[in-house]
């Protein structure tokens, strides 16, 4: 019976796909673990910075700094962290939908906002739809270093300080668990003075040259660090999204192979039955 060969070929091809998705799943799992470790390793740095900033802020009554100042919002910056590669389920789609939704809700015209993008998928998306894209980075490695994003983080923070836009939001996939990531948008600038009161009556700290000077250098760095942390989290989300997507792709392939094998066996049996009945019919005719 014709068709058996085709079915066999399908099975073979699905099997190949399954092998690939399975490998990708395992790679993503390994990368996820590494990304989580990195996110863990970056925590002491930003925690420490936060601590120092809080202690300065709590001492000096009226600290003034462009990064802390709440201005009238005329223009808003969005920093969207996507991925370079696809095959990660709804990772980019969900993220970009969230970004577009937020932008649509808040702004009437495209003069009111600008967009920075990290990742090829995000860049292509915004470019194609002609969003005011003013900064982009693609080709970030799977375990990004601080140097990778320093440039764009610096640019974004500087542009805020210079008043090109009056607030800066980060849009990225928050890592909740290995199977759950949700796109969120987070206000980065102006930096919100930490509300939790860490008034553990600490001894007076000496600043050299002065508290203001220290703050001047510290705050931009802190903002950059927060961007870096968001990137690490986004990477962890990407890997886990890919892991889940590839896991279910593997399951689907398995199921498909099952169904196809069944059809194949039926067809084979049918053709054998037919052959036998032909032979019998032929023998009877003699």
């Amino acid at each position: 019976m014709q068709g058996t060969r085709e079915i066999k070929r399908r099975i073979k091809s699905v099997q190949n796909t399954k092998q690939i998705t399975k490998a990708m799943k395992m790679v993503a799992a390994a990368k996820l673990r590494r990304a989580q470790e990195r996110a863990e390793a970056s925590r002491p740095y930003s925690d420490k910075m936060k601590e120092v900033i809080t202690s300065i802020a709590s001492r000096a009554e009226d600290v003034e700094h462009p990064l802390l100042e709440v201005r009238n919002v005329k223009k808003t910056g969005y920093l969207v962290i996507g991925s370079d590669r696809g095959l990660a389920g709804g990772y980019n789609a969900n993220l970009l939908r969230k970004a577009v939704q937020t932008i649509k809700e808040r702004h009437q015209s495209s003069d009111e906002y600008v967009v920075f993008s990290i990742g090829r998928k995000a860049r292509d998306f915004f470019k194609k739809r002609e969003y005011p894209l003013i900064g982009e980075i693609i080709g970030i490695s799977d375990s990004p270093t601080f140097a990778d994003i320093k440039e764009i983080a610096k640019t974004a923070v500087n542009m805020y300080a210079e008043g090109i836009f009056d607030e800066l939001y980060l849009v990225y996939n928050e890592f909740i668990s290995a199977i759950q990531q949700t796109p969120i948008e987070k206000k980065l600038l102006p930096l919100v003075a930490t509300e939790e009161e860490t008034q553990d009556v600490r001894t007076q700290i000496d600043f050299e040259p002065s508290a203001e000077e220290v703050l001047n250098v510290l705050l931009p760095r802190y903002a950059e660090t927060l961007i870096y942390n968001a990137l690490l989290e986004a990477k962890a989300s990407e890997h886990s999204a890919r892991m889940t997507a590839m896991g279910s792709a593997t399951d689907n392939a398995e199921e498909m192979i099952g169904v196809l094998t069944l059809t194949y066996n039926r067809a084979r049996q049918a053709s054998i039955t037919q052959e036998i009945s032909e032979i019998v019919a032929g023998a009877n005719a003699l």
Binding site: R38, A41, P44, Y45, I56, R202, T203, E208, L218, R221
Partner: protein
């Protein structure tokens, strides 16, 4: 000799974390040596080599700017990057130095890139200093 814990932290990892006798850093106003029981203190650091004295030996760590925080329990250095001499790739640093020098010769002192190239030159020289002095 009394000791105090020193931690050098970058966004990527904790580079150093040990009990030491003395730390010598370069702040914006000059070199500062910190001994145990120093008063709480915060200062920005420039691109420099941090010298760590421990049990009569001296160790160096190249940092590319950052902060020093001294509190009663420990000394913390927050740096954008920090490397122990053994980790420094001399060839790469030399290449970076030459690249920055070429670039500096080419562009005018007015451009923003000049400052950037200058900083990267400083970082390269600093790394070489730490790596070779050992």
């Amino acid at each position: 000799m009394s000791t105090i814990r020193l931690e050098i932290v970058t966004p990527e990892r904790i580079v150093y974390g040990e009990e030491v006798n003395m730390v010598i850093v370069k702040g914006e106003l000059g070199e500062i040596g910190i001994l145990p029981k120093h008063a709480p203190f915060v200062t920005p650091l420039v691109i420099s080599v941090v010298r760590i004295k421990k049990d009569g030996t001296e160790q160096e760590v190249a940092i590319s700017g950052g902060f020093l925080e001294v509190n009663p329990e420990k000394i913390v250095i927050l740096a954008e990057s920090a490397e122990l001499p053994a980790e420094i790739d001399i060839d790469r640093a030399t290449a970076a130095k030459e690249r920055a020098e070429r670039y500096l010769a080419k562009i005018g002192a007015e451009s923003i890139d000049f400052r950037r190239a200058e900083l990267s030159l400083q970082r390269a020289i600093n790394r070489l200093k730490a790596a070779i002095r050992k």
